[in-house]
């Protein structure tokens, strides 16, 4: 184990706003919207149509292929439409809209306790797959794919990611305090798939209560340890966790499984435990609503498809004297701005941050040319040279960006943008460059296929 990873920044974490608020189950009243693509991979195929009656826990869109995930209905009612709606990312995407009857009638067998100890490995994986579980840390990679590496024997580390380094977000902190046993059970289920692995729960040292809770929950477990991590953004990045806990550095082209690691968010592990031992597929998860524009920030167990508006209302609404300048899905570092609150929670939405001022707008007003101070280089956790990358990206020299400067290793953590004294929008530039390179490659593949 290493002390910490290279680079990183210390933003004001603002966790005090919601850190002591216990998790609250929130049952929405309005219509529920379920995009069919909430994960990395192929979008799911809608298997309900307008007018169909649906229940809580019912699969409403079937995974299409291996790297895909089922979409589970989180309310009961009738399907209103299957149409294009604006989703969190700002794009129009196919969604299943359900008219919520407010009764939350569960499908038969939902929540039934089951003895997981008798299940075989395949059965565990099948249940995870059927439950539509994806990585709840934000990326949304289907978990059943992650848990099926080429060589399960080679996995040495199963890492539960409880770092929660994103400012404002405190829902995983609360989850670890309230459900430590279930998370440990989730880790134990995953450990059964990997005979040579040990479990590690990585938690930043700014969450002492969660550390205590998790330590006492895994007191009798000889294969699971709690690892206290130094508080530094982006400690919760998969790569950084592996660097610290497993002590290995690896190129981004490789997967964690290639270096013997499986990293899962604590929320995902909780969902695994619910799915396998309680027959409850993934239709709700934890989420923080925070920010200086909202009256009573809080942590929720929220149903997928709930509209942001209702959640903000559940927090007492917006402050009267504050103008909502910026609404973010997720936290301020990795989250993205949403144009309006008329969007709906997806599986991977772990926070709503409402700000009374727009830091990005201020930054843009103060932007100057690059000072070549090199601060971005010192904070980049991937060890890149953001200043040169930005030059290459702005000159559209993607060859240099990719081959000479390894720009595809950027994890878009935002540390460089945060630290930049010239207030340059570095991360956005890199995101764009990466999208351009992907588009160029896709075009090349299409051309080669056409010939």
């Amino acid at each position: 184990m290493r002390d910490t990873f290279r680079g990183g920044v210390h933003p004001n974490d603002q966790k005090r706003l919601a850190r002591e608020v216990p998790l609250r189950s929130f049952d929405p009243k309005g219509e529920m919207v379920f995009p069919v693509a909430q994960h990395i991979g192929k979008p799911a195929k809608a298997i309900v149509k307008k007018g169909d009656a649906v229940q809580v826990g019912q699969i409403i869109a079937q995974a299409d292929g291996f790297v895909s995930a089922n979409i589970i209905c989180s309310c009961s009612g009738t399907v209103k439409a299957v149409e294009k709606r604006r989703i969190i990312s700002g794009a129009m995407a196919e969604c299943i809209v359900v008219d919520n009857d407010g009764l939350f009638t569960p499908i038969e067998g939902l929540g039934q306790e089951e003895d997981a100890s008798s299940l075989s490995n395949d059965e565990i994986l099948n249940r995870i797959q059927a439950a539509g579980i994806v990585g709840l840390g934000g990326a949304g990679f289907p978990t059943h794919v992650k848990l099926k590496p080429r060589d399960p024997e080679a996995i040495r580390y199963v890492i539960a990611n409880g770092a929660e380094c994103e400012p404002y977000l405190t829902c995983n902190d609360q989850l670890m305090r309230e459900e430590p046993k279930a998370i440990v059970d989730g880790i134990k289920l995953v450990l059964r798939l990997f005979p040579n692995a040990r479990g590690y729960i990585g938690i930043e040292d700014n969450k002492p209560e969660a550390i205590t809770a998790m330590k006492s929950a895994c007191a009798g477990e000889d294969k699971i340890d709690v690892v206290v991590l130094r508080t530094k953004y982006p400690q919760g990045g998969e790569h950084n966790l592996i660097t610290v806990i497993a002590g290995v550095d690896y190129p981004v082209a490789k997967l964690p499984a290639d270096v013997g690691c499986i990293v899962d968010n604590v929320g995902t592990l909780y969902a695994i435990e619910r799915a396998v031992a309680h027959n409850e597929p993934l239709f709700r998860h934890v989420l923080t609503v925070s920010g200086d524009a909202v009256k009573k920030p809080g942590n929720f167990i929220v149903r997928d498809g709930t509209s942001f508006e209702e959640l903000v209302e559940a927090c007492g609404g917006l402050k009267d004297n504050v103008d909502l300048k910026k609404a973010l899905s997720g936290g301020p570092m990795m989250g993205f701005a949403v144009g309006s609150l008329k969007v709906n929670v997806q599986k991977t939405t772990n926070g709503i941050t409402l700000l009374g001022s727009d830091p990005a707008e201020k930054a843009q007003a103060q932007m100057t040319a690059c000072l070549h101070c090199g601060r971005c280089t010192t904070v980049c956790p991937a060890g890149l040279l953001p200043q040169l990358l930005a030059e290459a990206a702005e000159a559209k020299d993607y060859e240099r960006y990719e081959k000479k400067l390894y720009g595809l290793e950027c994890v878009a953590c935002g540390s460089c943008t945060y630290i930049c004294p010239a207030k340059r929008p570095l991360t956005q530039t890199f995101k764009q460059a990466k999208a351009e390179i992907t588009a160029i490659k896709r075009a090349a593949v299409a051309q080669a296929g056409g010939k």
């Binding site: 294009k84 794009a91 956005q428 530039t429 764009q432």
Partner: protein
Amino acid sequence: MNGNIILITTVVITLIGAIVGIGLVWTGKKFHVDVDERETAVRECLPGNNCGACGFAGCDALAAAIAKGEAPAGSCPVGGKPVAEMIAAIMGTDAEMAERKVAFVRCKGSCGVTKNQGNYVGVMDCRSVALNGLSITDCDFGCLGLGSCVSVCPNDAIHVVDGVAVVNERKCVGCGLCAKACPKGLIELVPESRRVRVQCSNRDRGPQVKAVCSAGCIGCMLCTRQCEFEAITVTNNLAHVNYANCTLCGKCAEKCPVKVITAL
């Protein structure tokens, strides 16, 4: 003794001179390229932007093609009539010009007719938004207004006015750089005289268009019923003008309920 040195030096220098001279003459003959004088002259008439609007790889390539007779004298849309006349004089051909084309933005989505989703802050490049499948306004097809076209225009002929790109046709030379730069594919080159054009690119159905923009084509087909010349069709919920058939009568524009067909 001294005289000898002078003699040897003179002989050696003369010999070297002779060898180099013969070499130069030989290589000159061997690698001789016939340059058409007219090509050089034509090249000098061309603007030298290397914009590629003619379809050739820059002005040199066009000059060569004209000199060989592979391209007409009026091939340079940027130079227009004056350049065509000069080239015609050199080549001794007709100075007939293809009709001047101008860029046309098929979107009317200014701030007055459609709403922005939010306050966009960040890189001022339309591609950065469009690559992620996003849009600035509620309309997913319309102009993003971040000015990628403005930044590539060599003639200052396109500007973002009130959230939508607008072409100054007097300055536009029809080079098509803006059309290539637009990630939404909104800009097309149209013959200057074709004044009846459809100023929308939204391929959604009517109600969806109405919900996002008050100036979008709703695919109502009224225009097709007006036209006596089959010059306007609606495909994918969007009207298209067939410029070859259009007689510029303007009846379609008159009837258009959303005034998306312009008779400029």
